[in-house]
């Protein structure tokens, strides 16, 4: 059937092989930690052998003469995310401790990590070694900005194909190029990502170690290990924490510092780059940025107002504002940390967080979910439709930051938003049915929360799957489906779905 297959799979395979080979490098970090702490090193040596073996093998199959076209990019992107997650699960399996030694759970944890979801199936955090817990954090950091941007930055051989890959990964036509060469743009953005991460490590560790020097315990629990672990998952808006109590385990000062870090991770990296280059006005002129910050302020104010009126929580004004701002930022940016167990919030407050799940940060950042730009276009085009209802002959382009959006893009955005919401409802339905079958009987809010949280890559849900709990409450079959949907959601649905259309494989 070879001649009927119209996808130049050899081009994709070559890429996949290269990515796996490079995956050996990040595995060195937890390996070094394991050596340092005297923990088992096998959990990292095995996956390293696998990446070198399979990666090298695929490279020999590869045909680098073939161009990476749209189909090859779809195939490569979808496969790479799946394979990297599978290899990411190996350390959990080999270590063989706790709940994640079980294959579905290991895959769930790794996929949740790589897709920066942050939902966990770890029952007991003490059962795991420091190095394995750090591997979880590192997986999130690698997935944060998108693996394919990293690949484009590293692999010069991809050349023009890199643009194709980055666009496929983020489903946006205009990956804002900073330089004429796409690989240079990717390098700049990754350099920025790395720089911001180092900065966060420095700030968090600095608070811990310098605080006592001036006589204030600013961040008692935030040692260097925790500083690195949380820098890796905050700027990447990912949400894993080696602490079972998430950010509740840290001081109010740490919580305050992490709010702008999460918001920054959700801001377009291209605009951050321009801001650093001395054009901060470009950021303020961006309507998407203003919209996203506006949503943050509005949701924070609303939940703070709802919390203030609640006697049971018994918080002062400062605590109320902090917890409202932190948890709204965490959910809105799709990070998934929690500064307290928000399942104890009044229902109305929890519903605000649920609504925030669907918004997301800016396009071109580490955020997931539907993203502010899409909502902005949907709202503006809806307002336009109201106007043309009165003036049927009026020609009114939808403008974002002064640039008009073409009608085809608007249709694509409507389609994407609708598709996300349909998938969310189908997953909710599945969780409810599967739960009823297995006797878990999730409530509607638990099911909806978990569905939104996984397909939109956020992390914690509500009820029994709340931030201080885990997803073990759901039956194994549900967890397996969630693995697929986290994968689907992270690469914005389309690259996975097209693989399942017959016409993708034929002419």
């Amino acid at each position: 059937m070879g001649q009927y297959l119209r996808v130049e799979w050899r081009a994709s395979v070559g890429l996949i092989g290269a990515v796996l080979l490079y995956l050996t490098l990040p595995l060195l970090f937890p390996l070094a930690l394991a050596v340092l702490y005297g923990e088992p090193v096998l959990p990292f040596l095995v996956p390293m052998a696998v990446t070198l073996g399979i990666g090298g093998g695929l490279r020999t199959l590869a045909d680098i003469e073939e161009d990476v076209g749209p189909r090859e990019a779809f195939l490569a992107v979808a496969t790479i995310w799946l394979l990297v997650a599978a290899i990411g699960a190996l350390p959990f399996l080999v270590a063989g401790n706790g709940t994640i030694a079980q294959p579905v759970n290991a895959m769930f944890e790794a996929m949740s990590g790589l897709t920066t979801t942050g939902a966990t199936v770890i029952g007991d955090f003490d059962a795991h070694s420091q190095s394995v817990l750090m591997w979880r954090q590192l997986l999130q950091w690698l997935g944060g900005l998108g693996i394919l941007i990293l690949v484009t930055a590293v692999l010069s051989e991809i050349g023009v194909g890199g643009a194709q890959l980055m666009e496929t990964e983020t489903q946006s036509q205009s990956s804002n190029r900073l330089t004429p060469r796409i690989s240079e743009t990717a390098q700049l953005i990754w350099g920025l990502y790395l720089g911001l991460t180092v900065l966060v490590v420095a700030v968090l560790a600095g608070m811990h170690y310098l605080g006592p020097v001036v006589g204030v315990e600013l961040a008692p629990n935030m040692n260097l290990y925790n500083a690195v672990a949380h820098a890796l998952t905050s700027i990447s808006t990912a949400g894993f924490s080696p602490e079972a109590r998430s950010i509740e385990a840290f001081s109010a000062a740490v919580q305050w510092v992490l709010v702008p870090v999460m918001l920054l991770g959700s801001t377009s990296f291209v605009l951050i780059y321009f801001a650093i280059q001395g054009a901060p006005m470009r950021l303020l002129r961006s309507e998407e940025f203003r919209f996203y910050i506006g949503v943050f302020v509005l949701f924070t104010a609303t939940s703070a107002a709802l919390l203030v009126g609640t006697q049971e929580l018994d918080m002062g004004l400062h605590d109320t504002v902090r917890h409202a701002a932190f948890n709204v930022a965490s959910i809105l940016t799709t990070t998934g940390y929690a500064s307290q167990d928000f399942t104890n919030w009044p229902n109305a407050g929890q519903n605000v967080l649920f609504a925030a799940m669907f918004v997301g940060g800016m396009v071109g950042s580490t955020t997931c979910s539907i993203k502010s730009l899409r909502w902005l276009v949907v709202l503006k085009s809806f307002r336009r439709d109201l106007f043309t209802a009165i003036h049927p002959n009026a020609v009114r382009p939808v403008r974002v930051s002064g640039n008009s959006v073409d009608e085809e893009t608007i249709r694509d955005i409507y389609g994407y938003v609708l598709l996300s919401i349909v998938i969310f409802f189908l997953l909710t339905l599945f969780i409810v049915i599967d739960g009823a079958r297995s006797g878990v009987d999730p409530t509607e809010f638990e099911a909806m929360g978990a569905a939104a949280s996984t397909v939109l890559n956020i992390g914690p849900a509500f009820g029994r799957a709340g931030p201080m709990n885990n997803y073990l409450v759901f039956p194994e079959s549900t967890r397996a489906v969630m693995v697929v949907l986290m994968w689907l959601g992270r690469i914005e649905i389309v690259p996975v779905l097209v693989l399942f259309t017959p016409s993708f494989w034929r002419s």
Binding site: H391, N393, A394, V395, R396, P397, R399, G402, S404
Partner: protein
């Protein structure tokens, strides 16, 4: 007046009317590639004629471009006109004027003022749009002229008894950024306004400044006649002139409506004009006009491609009740006809272009751009070169060193306007618009 030698290339409507106007005072040579047209012109006006391709060096030499003072490239083709300027540059040193239709070329030239080897590029579409916008926006002005490529405008207004600024001092009335009160004419005398000068009824006020400031001033002194932001301005036809009209209206803070029949063009216009409501429909459909309340328009501009359509739309607009109707007219001999059937104003792009070139040519000879009130005062536009005595001095310093009263109306520097204040230091390459009493013109010219 000094007699100068002028070569006009292109004997179309524009070229012919320029030649006819200049022929009485100057030595004019007309060149055209079309023999029959040259024949015709030879008997109509008293000029020397030549048949040939003006882009060729040999033809230009034969026409006398080597020793000519001025060369006007006025064929119907933009590129031909620009090539003519380039060719002329190689053989002599006349002042070269090119007429273009595309605003793009005009803007390119404006960047440096030297592109295409042209000394002056005039865009017919921009000129027509500018005229329409002045007719719409400044009905109360006695006279309006534009300098420095439309960046600066000068307008004269009659102050009436009921005007809100009557009785105020100049300082009180000066509420606009970048607007200079250049002069007052009172009982046939020229008064150069100071901050304490009191404005009286029947004064004639001359202001110089950015078009939006002039618009704001007109709004202030004649609120009834001058359209404001809430007024309905409708442009029919989204061709080049319609587009530039809408764009210039937007710059003056109006929000016009623009009707264009072609859907792709309508979309492109809507993308370019954020403040304009673009509609895509047949403009001759009265049902549509009524449905969109266009019959209640305060001003309606018909800017379609053909005279027939413009006439149809204009008559229709008048009939259904538009307050003021302005129409574009392609053939200049129809201007009269349009006005006779009750159209409030008819603007011919060829006419306004020819007028502008003639005005510019005359000014080039006399080195001023406008003479006011029967020669009492003149407005000069000077480009400061390295030899100018003004360079490196502040306006206050210059003002104190000359005997006469002189007003710096506007200073434009590298394509943007600098508001002239006492401490503004002039730089090389600045374009300055100076308002000065006639008897001191020579002194100013010698210094500048």
């Amino acid at each position: 007046m000094v007699t100068v030698q002028v070569v006009v290339i292109g004997a179309g409507e524009v070229g012919t009317s320029i030649a006819a106007d200049l022929a009485s005072d100057h030595d004019v040579v007309v060149v055209d590639i079309d023999e029959s047209r040259v024949e015709e012109i030879k008997y109509d006006i008293d000029v020397l004629t030549l048949v040939g391709d003006g882009t060729k060096s040999s033809v230009l030499t034969k026409a006398g471009a080597v020793e000519a003072d001025m060369l006007i490239a006025s064929t119907d083709d933009d590129k031909t006109n620009l090539v003519i300027c380039g060719t002329a540059e190689t053989i002599g040193d006349p002042f070269k004027i090119a007429r273009v239709k595309s605003a793009e070329y005009q803007r390119t030239w404006e960047q440096t003022g030297e592109a295409f080897d042209a000394d002056f590029v005039i865009c017919a579409n921009l000129q027509a749009a500018g005229t329409i916008v002045d007719v719409i926006g400044l009905p109360s002005a006695v006279e309006v002229s534009s300098f420095v490529g439309g960046l600066v405008q000068m307008a004269e207004f009659d102050i009436t008894e009921g005007s809100p600024i009557t009785g105020q001092t100049v300082a009180e009335a000066d509420r606009f950024d970048s607007l200079t009160f250049a002069a007052l004419f009172r009982d046939d005398d020229l008064v150069l306004p100071r901050g304490s000068t009191i404005i009286k009824a029947d004064d004639r006020m001359v202001v110089i400044g950015r078009p939006e400031s002039v618009q704001g001033f007109a709004q202030q002194i004649a609120p009834v006649a001058t359209p404001d932001r809430g007024d309905d301005i409708v442009i029919i036809g989204g061709g080049e002139i319609g587009y530039h009209t809408a764009r210039m209206l937007e710059a003056r803070e109006f929000s016009p409506k623009l009707i264009e029949q072609d859907s792709d063009r309508a979309r492109a216009l809507a993308e370019d004009l954020p403040e304009t409501l673009v509609m895509n429909h047949d403009p001759t459909d009265t049902g549509f006009l009524r449905r969109e309340r266009l019959d209640e328009a305060n001003v309606l501009v018909s800017a379609l491609d053909s005279d027939e359509n413009n006439m149809l739309v204009s008559v229709l607009a008048k009939r259904i009740g538009a307050e003021r109707v302005i129409s574009l007219v392609d053939r200049s001999d129809y201007v009269q006809l349009f006005q006779e059937i009750g159209i409030d104003a008819a603007v011919s792009p060829r006419d306004v272009t020819a007028e502008e070139i003639i005005r510019f040519t005359r000014e080039k000879v006399a080195e001023n751009i406008a003479v006011l009130e029967g020669g009492k005062a003149e407005v000069l536009e000077l480009e400061l070169d390295a030899d100018s005595e003004f360079v490196g001095r502040s306006i206050r310093d210059i003002d104190e060193s000359v005997d006469s009263d002189v007003v710096f109306g506007a200073v434009s520097r590298r394509g943007t306007e600098v508001v002239p204040r006492g401490d503004t230091v002039l730089e090389r390459g600045d374009n300055v618009v100076i308002f000065v009493e006639s008897e001191f013109v020579d002194e100013m010219l010698a210094m500048g």
